[in-house]
Symmetry: C2
Subunit: 362 residues, 2 copies
């Protein structure tokens, strides 16, 4: 017991504020063994919990400061909330990230191997926020756009484009902030592991929400009739299927499976992260499989990569994905499958982008 | 009384969700007479208040929904918080905005005359987020950058640059989000009331915080040795004083007064919004006035505009600003003064940018 107390004391001395904190916020802190220490001053509050996937009670001291130290956390970015008397709120000490269909707190946990999205002394691209009018939704929308280092200078060069989608309850900001897309691609380009490309972070939220055929068709229209034509007429990009890729996570993976598979004349590369058609709902997944079965030859011929990735067995999409790949095997649809453990979370999707981007446009 | 109840009922029918809400959030709503209706479900909470500059108690109904309707609100963007059992938090229904040194909620109130920052069918520029390494602070920092419509296409054109700073407790995101800089400049350019320009939204937060001479000197160094050289070597800009402007609000106004007045060989246009040297602290303001007195001839000769604006008498910087202009008069420092009522708030600063931008680079 004495040893344990000493060890805890030593760990606490090595803790430091999380990079996801707002400027100057001392807490939450991360210890050298990846635990997180949360402290919140709220003397009048009766009950305070931390919700980091599972809920933990926080304990109030005599000065009204609530505290909890977590178990060792897994790598990378995690959404979290404080629960004040039953209401899930943002931690005032954290930056906010659109997820869970609202602005949420986030905590970044460093780990051995996070170097691939570290800020390094390499050329950096820009993240742009671009407004456009959609004739499909009849409304102003925006996307986030990564342009690679040199885009402004190399005015005679044209670039390939990866179109990428966030998950449900998120939006076009997801890949730019939670996903660290710019750093991942900057570093890959600097090491010549990826070719310079634009990455268009699409807003996948359509007026008709949900995952049914109608919502998916509206998304497909928005992509084909609004986003891609706008990008190709406003930026210096190569406009053929060999220079277009489409990818997405979770809900964005379904959008990729729908809009990508139906349009392999437009996209030679598809990336499906933590997703899969419903294994228990033939009404929704049946028409998708019917299309694929009827077009298996074309799909196989057109796609240079049909890349499917899963966050291990702990990923909530695991079962759907395995069932879907079984169907693909029956239909002789070619694909590549990979796993990276971590479940249905951003650390997995960052790693997916890191690996998928290296396969593109070569 | 009957008439009143009917009128209120009619107004409520015309209320609509605020544009600052997260997607799909039905509340807060704005009525046709600019009142705001807040509703928050929190059955277990004991006390809930709305803090919109002043605090109002919310009232809980039998379903656990707390509600309050405000008096008529003034135009434009306002920060707000919910106070749950004494803790100021973000409203889960609102987008978040960095202000008050944390992520805060915001509510946008439409008004007759807000057309100048409406999203119109005109060419739109980009907002870019740009990472750079500062040799002054020895750290990675970023700025937000507006590039005007045509910047990507007109590859032989060079543009003038407005460098602009946020207030205390805010950061480089302030002018891009709360300030609607892109829409204001897009619309002015479309009407040929402003010339196409870049707007660099600088992060004015320095490692040595505060408003003393040391912090101001570090900011001046960051601007001169990091930001401006980086912009001028990475973007197509005109690099002479006639094509550089510097402006800022509140703390950013002090930074403009310090770094701008000391460098009129670099900037021909200065904009000081809701700011002024301390009228009650000669230790801090004395050296500033001494510099100006000793350099009045140069300052007057170099500046094409020294534009000072105040949010009416209700602006917390009113007294300092009036005292400062009295000193300027004594020293024969030339300036232009204007007022727009609304106090120390973003609606005033949007209007300041709208007017100041029309004076630049002509």
């Amino acid at each position: 017991m004495v040893f344990c107390a000493v060890a805890l004391g030593a760990a606490a001395q090595n803790s430091f504020p999380a990079e996801t904190n707002i400027r100057g916020a001392k807490y939450p802190q991360i210890t050298s063994d990846s635990r997180a220490i949360f402290k919140v001053k709220a003397p009048e509050v009766q009950k305070l919990q931390l919700d980091l996937g599972k809920k933990s009670d926080m304990v109030k001291n005599s000065e009204g400061v609530w505290e909890v130290t977590t178990d060792s956390l897994s790598e990378g970015f995690h959404y979290y909330s404080l629960i004040v008397d039953g209401v899930a709120i943002c931690d005032p000490a954290s930056e906010t990230f659109y997820g869970m269909s609202r602005m949420a707190s986030g905590i970044e946990v460093p780990f051995a191997g996070d170097d691939y999205y570290a800020v390094k002394d390499v050329p950096h691209g820009d993240i742009r926020i671009k407004r456009y009018f959609s004739e499909v939704t009849k409304s102003w929308r925006n996307f986030y756009l990564y342009t690679p280092p040199g885009y402004d200078q190399n005015i005679n060069d044209k670039y390939p484009v990866l179109y990428i989608m966030h998950g449900g309850g998120e939006d076009q900001r997801g890949w730019a902030t939670q996903g660290k897309t710019d750093l991942i691609i900057d570093n890959l380009i600097a090491e010549k592991k990826a070719v310079p490309m634009l990455v268009v972070m699409v807003d996948g939220n359509m007026p008709s929400s949900g995952f049914g055929m109608e919502a998916l068709n509206v998304f497909e229209n928005e992509l084909k009739k609004s986003v891609i034509p706008f990008v190709e007429s406003n930026y210096r990009v190569k406009a053929d299927s060999k220079n277009r890729a489409l990818a997405g996570l979770s809900m964005g993976g379904l959008q990729t499976l729908h809009a990508g598979v139906r349009n392999t004349d437009l996209f030679a590369y598809l990336g499906v992260f933590s997703s899969g058609w419903w294994s228990n709902n033939n009404e929704l997944s049946g028409p998708q499989y019917d299309f694929m079965k009827n077009n298996a030859v074309t799909i196989n011929k057109n796609l240079k990569q049909f890349w499917i990735a899963m966050g291990g067995k702990e990923d909530i999409a695991w079962q759907n994905c395995q069932a879907m790949m079984g169907k693909f095997d029956e239909m002789n649809i070619k694909y590549t499958y990979s796993e990276y453990s971590g479940g249905h979370t951003w650390p997995v999707w960052r790693n997916n982008l890191f690996n998928f981007a290296q396969l593109l446009f070569k």
